[in-house]
């Protein structure tokens, strides 16, 4: 067996495991992987890309909404709700958790709190985006070298 390929797979597995250990991804991401097969070989990338585009738009909307003189909290809440839903569905745990906190501030109509939270969400989003992009790149390398992507098992906590 090609030792280089094995090393690449090992690196990929380590990288993925670290993401779970650090709480950046949760088991929902694994559910996504389960849905990927030969008939849908790019499923995960497609869904995640959707998440990226959706979220970027939502984050922009949120920034704009919170900058208004009269903040429409209902609207803000709706956006965050959406973001929470989509992040939870791809397993972006930290983003989801940040959204939950955001909604609390929203209910209190606490603008500075909301702004801080928004900042937090942006950071977490950028983090998970960068990590997932790296993960996909590693996967591409493995596939290009003729290997298959090792199935990740969520490390028992």
């Amino acid at each position: 067996m090609d030792v280089g390929l094995v090393q690449m797979q090992r690196r990929l597995a380590d990288y993925a495991n670290a993401l779970f250990k650090e709480g950046i991804l949760d088991s929902q991401y694994l559910q996504l992987q389960e849905l990927q097969d030969e008939s849908n070989p790019d499923f995960v990338v497609e869904v995640v890309s959707l998440f990226f585009t959706d979220s970027e738009k939502l984050l922009n909307d949120l920034s704009r909404d919170l900058a208004q003189p009269n903040v429409d909290f209902k609207r803000v809440d709706a956006h965050v709700h959406q973001l929470k839903g989509s992040s939870s569905s791809i397993g972006a745990e930290r983003v989801k958790n940040a959204c939950i906190v955001f909604r609390n501030f929203c209910q209190e109509k606490n603008i500075p709190g909301c702004l801080r939270c928004l900042q937090q969400i942006k950071q977490e989003f950028l983090l998970v985006k960068s990590k997932l992009e790296t993960l996909f790149k590693l996967e591409q390398q493995v596939v290009a070298a003729g290997g298959s992507i090792p199935t990740v098992q969520q490390p028992s906590l």
């Binding site: 090393q7 690449m8 690196r11 990288y15 088991s27 929902q28 694994l30 559910q31 996504l32 389960e34 849905l35 849908n40 499923f43 497609e46 869904v47 959707l50 998440f51 959706d54 709706a78 709700h81 959406q82 929470k84 839903g85 989509s86 939870s88 569905s89 791809i90 790296t134 590693l138 390398q141 098992q153 969520q154 028992s156």
Partner: protein, 701 residues
């Protein structure tokens, strides 16, 4: 006169040599601090550099190697430092509570893989079980671990086949021990001091750092016994001197030759000593034995009693914390098929000490015969307890039953013997059992790599047909990294109650298996097996919740031919739902909000009317409805849909997708007319659960 002069000269020379060695040690200890600091710096910088490097690059590979080298250097240095510390009399004993049995297991498991690669098995021998009893102790865990690791590492290095046994037991307090435990300044030692004129400050020996043996401490004896190259008798003393390695056997082996010297110092620090035992004639290898003193901490047990150390039988089992049901019930039979001879021996010996009957198959070819023996024993017991049926006719009944079993899977599964449990109605011949009628329990412990797995599996399966399933359990021992058990090859026919346990089989894993036996608390309940087709096996080592959840239990898709309408404003959700439902075999229609959903329902009904269908049925079998949506939310949409449906007397089960299921939310869901709710994100499992619920309520097939 002359003699006295020689003596004085000799003593002076000794004193000088010791003093020189002493200062060397001190200087050493001093200098190495600087070396250690620089090394730490290098390791730290390498660590930081990782972040700048692209994964998979040549540079990353080099960094990894550099890190490994630096860590090795640190390791070497630490060993040297340890020696100098001990010599300089600066080493202190730490005290903490720890689990000795767990420590032993950890160390053995640590060296097991690397030893196995050389074909050497590392076996943790429970001996008389006293360490398991007194496993909670107080002492210096770190140093004890160091001693064991050093010895094991040497054993692995110098052994190329066979096994390494690690044993431990608690020694019975004896008369001479109590003498030695008395205050240091006994007459004999004073005399010794005079003759050698040892002064406390001079010698870096253990004399300065005296081990205070508390009245609570007990003597723990350890052995590391290998079947390796062995150490010639003349060299035995010198191996404990620093920087000595037995040259003939050291070819190609790394190591600084410091290990055993440190081990000896540490052991002495802990109040004991280390020796090399003589082996029996014809036995090769080396056996190190050492003892240390640790304080067992047991609530209420301050002093070891003679009786406590009597190993064996029911009493021992109790003291080991293994609860026993009733010692009077028919004893269990354990069948062992374990490849490694030493492991086999130690397992058998320990089980027998607990009063369990053990049958051993030394090789896989013997297994069918051994199983037959067991079957005879078990069947005889059952026979004797059945009421007035002749042996002949009982046997015939059994044979015909097992034949008919294959034809009528819906009926009683299994063997007539099962009726002893009183559960079977179709065999009224057998009276309901009283406890003493119950047949013996059989536990098979099988090393999955002991032979061709298919054949072993077949022998076991054949055997199981003849034993009531509730009274037989199988534990498969398998290597976690290179499984011998090919689930596909045996078409997933592993019994769901079977356990696959990772090797090496000893320590806590051994105890866990013992607890499966009814005498030690094991339950006899079987998991319901009707739904099982290719159910994943319960893995005793690692929980695999995902595998069990999403494992396809049947070939046919549960939702094939069913149309499902998915209503969700999030494209991601729609995409996920589409995949999940398609995997379940459904035909999926997607839409974005409540308004579209209502329209689709109306269209669907209209289409059926146009086609002239007399009995209008619902256009979709199920609807998945998100609650929060723009334009029209889930609640509103449901209300409208129900209004439409009432006109035609139809009712489509609607499953609400919620982000949270608070009491108020759930109330809203049901008031709007929805049937069920599933928390987001909805995966295949959750959806199927909901649909099964609905089906079982009769809400739609």
């Amino acid at each position: 006169m002359h003699l006295r002069a020689v003596l004085i000269k000799q003593m002076e020379a000794t004193r000088q040599a010791e003093s020189k060695s002493m200062s060397k040690s001190n200087a050493f200890a001093q200098a190495s601090h600087d070396v250690r600091a620089s090394l730490a710096g290098i390791i730290g910088l390498i660590d930081i550099s990782y972040e700048e490097v692209s994964p998979g690059s040549e540079l990353e590979k080099n960094l990894k190697q550099m890190e490994s080298c630096a860590k090795d250097l640190l390791g070497f240095l630490n060993r040297i430092l340890d020696t100098s510390k001990v010599e300089a009399g600066k080493m202190l004993l730490e005290e903490e509570e720890f689990d000795l049995a767990q420590l032993l297991q950890d160390v053995v498991d640590l060296y097991h893989p690397v030893a196995m690669r050389k074909g050497v098995d590392v076996v943790l021998d429970p001996t008389d079980g006293t360490v398991l009893r007194y496993s909670l102790v107080k002492g210096d865990r770190g140093k004890l671990k160091q001693i064991l690791s050093n010895l094991l590492s040497n054993a692995v290095k110098f052994t190329d086949g066979g096994h390494i046994s690690v044993r431990a037991w608690v020694k019975k307090p004896s008369l001479e021990d109590s003498i030695l435990a008395s205050p240091r300044s006994s007459g004999w030692e004073r005399l010794m001091c005079l003759v050698c004129e040892k002064k406390d400050e001079d010698s870096g020996d253990e004399v300065a750092n005296e081990f205070q043996r508390s009245p609570n401490s007990a003597e723990f004896v350890f052995e590391v016994d290998d079947t390796g190259k062995g150490i010639p008798k003349e060299k035995r003393k010198s191996v404990f001197e620093n920087y000595i390695q037995v040259k003939e056997t050291a070819q190609g082996q790394e190591g600084t030759g410091l290990g055993l010297g440190i081990v000896q110092s540490l052991v002495r620090l802990m109040g004991g000593d280390i020796t090399i035992r003589d082996k029996d004639m014809g036995e090769r290898g080396t056996c190190f034995r050492f003892n240390v003193f640790l304080a067992p901490c047991d609530a209420g047990a301050t002093k070891l009693l003679e009786e406590d150390l009597e190993a064996g039988g029911y009493g021992a089992a109790c003291r080991l914390g293994l609860t026993t049901r009733s010692p009077k019930s028919e004893g269990s039979h354990v069948v062992l098929l374990i490849q490694n001879e030493e492991r086999r021996r130690t397992c058998r010996s320990y089980l027998e000490k607990l009063g369990i009957e053990v049958l051993v198959a030394s090789q896989w070819q013997d297994l069918p015969m051994i199983l037959k023996k067991v079957q005879m024993k078990v069947v005889n017991v059952a026979y004797h307890s059945s009421s007035g049926k002749s042996e002949m006719s009982w046997r015939i009944e059994r044979l015909s039953k097992s034949a008919s079993c294959k034809k009528a899977p819906g009926r009683v599964r299994g063997v007539p013997l099962r009726s002893l449990d009183g559960a079977d109605q179709s065999l009224p011949v057998y009276r309901s059992p009283s406890p003493k009628d119950q047949a013996a329990f059989v536990l098979l412990i099988i090393d999955a790599s002991a032979g061709p797995f298919q054949q072993i599996f077949m022998a076991v399966t054949e055997f199981r047909k003849l034993i009531p399933s509730a009274r037989c359990k199988v534990v498969w021992l398998d290597k976690p990294t290179m499984r011998s058990i090919d689930l596909r090859a045996i078409k997933g026919k592993l019994d769901p109650d079977d356990i696959i346990m990772s090797k090496p089989f000893h320590g806590t894993r051994l105890l866990r298996v013992i607890r499966l036996l009814p005498e030690f608390g094991g339950s006899l309940q079987k998991r319901p097996s009707e739904q099982v087709k290719a159910r994943p096996v319960q893995n005793a080592e690692a929980a695999k919740p995902l595998a069990e959840e999403t494992g396809n239990t049947s070939r046919e898709k549960p939702l094939s031919g069913k149309r499902v309408l998915v209503v969700d404003d999030s494209e991601i959700m729609r995409k996920l739902a589409l995949r999940n439902l398609s995997n379940l075999g459904a035909t999926v229609q997607l839409c974005e909000n409540g308004k579209e959903a209502v329209q689709l329902i109306r269209d669907g009904i209209d289409e059926l009317r146009e086609r002239g269908v007399s009995d209008i049925c619902r256009p979709y079998e199920y609807i998945l409805m998100d609650c929060q949506m723009p334009a029209m939310d889930g609640f509103e949409a449901t209300r409208k849909i129900r209004k439409e449906e009432r006109r035609y007397g139809i009712h489509t089960p609607i499953i609400a997708l919620t982000a949270h299921s608070s009491g108020a939310e759930v109330k809203k869901i049901f008031e709007a007319g929805m049937d069920f709710h599933v928390e987001k994100p909805a995966n295949g499992v959750r959806l199927m659960k909901a649909i099964s619920e609905i089906q079982s309520r009769g809400g739609g097939v």
